[in-house]
């Protein structure tokens, strides 16, 4: 029997959540006033949770490293948010959203959690509209939808290419209302440095004021970690520069199990790396795959000529192009799920067909869409025999109305006009499905410590479908945590305020201060960024889109060695008592250097390919992922034991009662 109890309620799938809500304990309004909750991170999950908990009457403290809660990286999400509203009448339902998500995750997620997610998805849209989120609308005044990869219905709600921004500003406005009421106290430019356990329960955090350097003690009856994902372990990713694993990793070191760290999403459509100076990668929304066609040259000579700048992509005829996604996956074509599209791009580039200077890029071409839309537009406006120029001009207008902001963004970064020549794209690290292990109530293995949004491992299995991250973050924050946390806090109505003078706070604060001192005094000769880049290269080359036993074993050793070197030779100038970006980065990279090793260890133990985790040893003859349900149909939850090499594996078996496990096919 596993030590992990997922606490999935009994009963039929569709009734679990309702029954659970009816049976959990509530805290009466008068008692809520005496209970404090800390929320770390103010993105969609954290912002939504903080606002809702405060509305309920709890005293909430929020922490974020940015200067305002509104700047959390949820703000950068482009494409949209899924909900099973079935406004388009195309056959969508809670069950279909549930089914698509479990299948898209390659059958490595928990049925009950995913069903609940689908069940509350409609409420999210209602709530956001009530808040004044300006979603895209049709001329009739009703909400518009579009479609995303891996599904056959239109269930994605959106606000141009800035859906994340609008949803986050909605959650932030709900927070503002509670800040104005005095129910939320925001601690901005504050970073959580450690979790404080008293009597085995999470009872507070140690935080650093990033402006003054002061180390502060904050107590609460429960702590919610909504601190996002750890994609920046790769150095280059689409995450924000400050996105980090520290809050989650510190909780892990205090006893929270870390689940499926190797499940990483490498997003297929990002702007390729241009040189060594690069600090981050920029996503081009998946929505572009609705209209863009992905290709590389059929002949290697052409690819070489393009790389050398001797040929232009527009000079190649249709016959000379290989639309490899349409060729390999005729049913879904360019709209296959992200993991499949990314691997296919890598396969072509590795085979020598890449198209930019480094050979690490494929084309995303809008010329067919421009022609198709142009003809349509000409026809509807009465030009039954338009000239080629006219069609192109009209087509460009239509494409600009749909994707203008993305085309402009591309133009600014790459200095090429995507209306005239195909975009160059390549996969990049985007999202991490792994994270802190949580039960059905979103509680980690530390009582009173909860994890929400990308910070937990929850709902996406081994691969996340487009427009599902925003849905999960808001579901956790608005509609799940506020119920489940009440059940836990109902035991705390007589506890009274938690003192910060206890030995536990004392000791944890001391450990934090010592660690900062150690970083400041390492007195080495290498910058934090140089270590981060080195770690990123190991991760990308050996734990990236394709992994194998040999590479992963090397990665485990190389990362451990790099970590040892870091603590001896890192150089952190400036002082610990004022704003110091180098010190902030140093603490985060130190944690990435531990997480990276556990990541490789997890990938090494999982002898199968599933979703974003592709092991070269386990593939079909056609190069598709080969799952092993008999041996690996479980969540791998790692227990911290001093160093990543000694982490102990606990398995939560995944039980599928409502969905039949199949080989995922998008052909």
């Amino acid at each position: 029997m596993s030590v992990l109890d997922s606490k999935i309620p009994k009963g039929p799938l569709a009734e679990k959540w309702t029954n659970h809500k009816n049976n959990i304990d509530l805290v009466n309004p008068a008692n809520k006033r005496n209970i404090d909750v800390i929320v770390v991170g103010t993105g969609l999950a954290g912002g939504a949770a903080a606002a809702t908990l405060a509305e309920l009457g709890y005293n909430v403290k929020t922490f974020c490293y940015q200067d305002s809660p509104r700047r959390a990286h949820s703000i950068a999400a482009q494409g949209g948010i899924n909900a099973s509203k079935n406004y388009q009448g195309d056959g969508d339902s809670d069950y279909r959203l549930f089914y698509d998500t479990v299948k898209g995750g390659d059958y490595r997620s928990r049925e009950a959690n995913v069903y609940r997610l689908a069940e509350v998805s409609g409420n999210i849209i209602d709530q956001c509209v009530a808040q004044g989120v300006p979603f895209a609308r049709e001329y009739g005044g009703y909400l518009d939808n579009r479609s995303f990869g891996g599904v056959l219905v239109s269930r994605t709600f959106y606000a141009k290419g800035q859906t994340g921004q609008q949803l986050l500003l909605g959650a932030y406005s709900a927070m503002n209302r509670q800040i104005n009421r005095g129910k939320i106290k925001p601690y901005n430019r504050h970073e959580m440095m450690d979790l404080v356990l008293v009597g085995g329960k999470a009872r507070g955090i140690i935080a650093r004021n990033m402006v003054t350097g002061e180390i502060e003690r904050h107590s609460a009856h429960a702590v919610v970690l909504a601190s996002g994902g750890y994609g920046n372990v790769f150095f280059l990713s689409t995450n924000a520069m400050g996105s980090n694993v520290t809050a989650a990793w510190r909780a892990h070191r205090r006893g929270a199990y870390f689940a499926n760290p190797c499940y990483t999403q490498i997003h297929p459509t990002c702007i390729p790396v241009s040189g060594d100076h690069q600090s981050k990668l920029t996503l081009m929304s998946e929505s572009l795959r609705n209209d863009g066609r992905i290709w590389v040259p059929k002949k290697k000579e052409d690819a070489e000529a393009i790389r050398a700048g001797k040929k232009k992509p527009t000079e190649l005829s249709e016959e000379e192009r290989d639309y490899y996604l349409e060729r390999r996956y005729p049913a879904f074509g360019n709209l296959v799920p992200r993991d499949v599209a990314s691997r296919a791009a890598k396969e072509r580039c590795d085979a020598g067909f890449g198209v930019n200077k480094t050979g690490q890029a494929v084309f995303l071409d809008f010329s067919s869409a421009i022609e198709r839309y142009g003809k349509e537009k000409a026809f509807t406006s009465g030009h039954k025999n338009p000239s080629k120029e006219e069609v192109t001009k009209l087509g460009k207008e239509v494409v600009a109305a749909k994707y203008g902001n993305l085309f402009d963004m591309y133009n600014k970064i790459v200095d090429q006009n995507p209306y005239e020549t195909p975009m160059m794209i390549y996969p990049a690290v985007h999202y991490t499905m792994g994270g802190l292990w949580v039960d059905y109530n979103l509680q980690t293995t530390i009582p009173g410590c909860y994890a929400a949004g990308e910070a937990n491992f929850s709902d996406h299995g081994a691969n996340r479908l487009g427009a599902s991250a925003l849905m999960q973050g808001l579901a956790d924050g608005y509609f799940v945590l506020p119920y489940t946390i009440g059940n836990y806090l109902s035991d705390d109505i007589r506890t009274g305020a938690i003192s910060t003078d206890s030995p536990e706070f004392e000791e944890t604060e001391k450990a934090v201060k010592e660690r900062i001192e150690k970083l400041m005094n390492a007195n080495g000769n290498k910058s934090v960024d140089s270590y981060h880049k080195e770690l990123g290269l190991i991760m990308w080359n050996k734990c990236g889109m394709a992994r194998n036993e040999k590479g992963l074993k090397e990665a485990v050793e190389e990362i451990a060695a790099l970590r040892e070197d870091f603590w001896k030779n890192v150089k952190v100038p400036g002082s610990a008592t004022s704003k110091n970006a180098e010190l902030e980065k140093a603490g985060r990279v130190a944690d990435f250097l531990e997480l990276g090793e556990l990541f490789a260890k997890d990938a090494l133990h999982r002898n199968e390919s599933c979703g974003g985790h592709f092991r070269e040893e386990y593939q079909t003859e056609e190069g598709e992922a080969l799952r092993d349900d008999e041996n690996f149909k479980y969540v791998a939850a790692w227990e911290y034991k001093g160093k990543p090499a000694d982490a102990v594996l606990h398995k939560e078996d995944l039980v599928f009662e409502n969905i039949e496990l199949k080989t995922r096919s998008y052909k």
């Binding site: 939504a48 009530a130 808040q131 005044g141 503002n176 104005n180 924000a240 004022s578």
Partner: protein, 248 residues
């Protein structure tokens, strides 16, 4: 490219600041402006000097952290972008570049190029929201139809990233463009109507309390805004404010 950077250094809010010269070489046109500053900071680390502190995060023009005044212009010479989207190809070999924090009384310097923009947060806390609880039983989203044109206009106002370029561009350091964008987002939607009177009054009151200057319709804010937020919003806010005042 070889450049001379003149950068504002200031130890803390109370310390006296000054411009310091930093020569830099080997800069490529494909680098972003912030990547150029990364390189300079790496060189400072090598020398054991305190690095130049500046706010940045998403580096794709949406989080609004960037707040650099470059050669006297918020976010530099290019239009409709935040500093992180500015590329070095906008400069040429031998250029001297002045880099300062956004200047405004309501945005005190925290350190070097970082300013405190919490005044913006407080304006929104004053009433920048619709008072609706998260209950799970609000009405179905499609029972509130919104005219497409209004929804689009509301969205355009809502795309403000809260960077403060409008304030930095204004000779009076006025926050009218920012505040009016927030007021407009709600004023254009049916969901915002119920509290419209209180909202505009509370937000304008807070804006005045924060020490921002008055609007003199020069329009510099609109020109420098990375998201192209329109001056129409200011007109709309003035109308909302006037109508709120007459309601008492």
């Amino acid at each position: 490219m070889k450049l001379t950077l003149k950068i504002w250094r200031q130890e803390s809010a109370t310390a006296k600041g000054k411009m310091v010269d930093y020569p830099i070489d080997g800069i490529d046109g494909d680098m972003s402006f912030l990547e150029m500053l990364d390189i300079l900071n790496e060189q400072l680390v090598e020398k054991g000097e305190d690095t130049i502190q500046f706010d940045h995060d998403c580096r794709e023009g949406i989080c609004g952290s960037c707040s650099l005044q470059i050669n006297g212009e918020p976010h530099g010479p290019d239009k409709l972008i935040a500093t992180c989207q500015l590329h070095m190809r906008s400069f040429k070999d031998g250029d001297t570049i002045y880099i300062e924090p956004f200047r405004a009384k309501a945005f005190p310097v925290v350190k070097d190029l970082i300013v405190d923009r919490s005044a913006f947060d407080r304006i929104q806390q004053a009433w920048g929201y619709v008072s609706v609880n998260t209950s799970g039983n609000t009405v179905d989203a499609n029972t509130i139809p919104v005219e497409k044109e209004k929804a689009d206009e509301s969205f355009n106002a809502a795309t403000c990233i809260g960077c403060g370029a409008c304030v930095a561009a204004c000779k009076n350091a006025s926050a009218m463009l920012f505040t009016s964008a927030k007021v407009s987002q709600y004023a254009l939607l049916p969901q915002g109507q119920v509290e419209a009177t209180e909202r505009v009054q509370a937000m304008v009151r807070q804006m005045d309390e924060e020490g921002f200057g008055n609007c003199s319709n020069t329009g510099a804010c609109e020109i420098e805004c990375p998201k192209g937020i329109s001056l129409d919003n200011i007109a709309r806010m003035n109308r909302e404010y006037l109508s709120a005042s007459t309601k008492g």
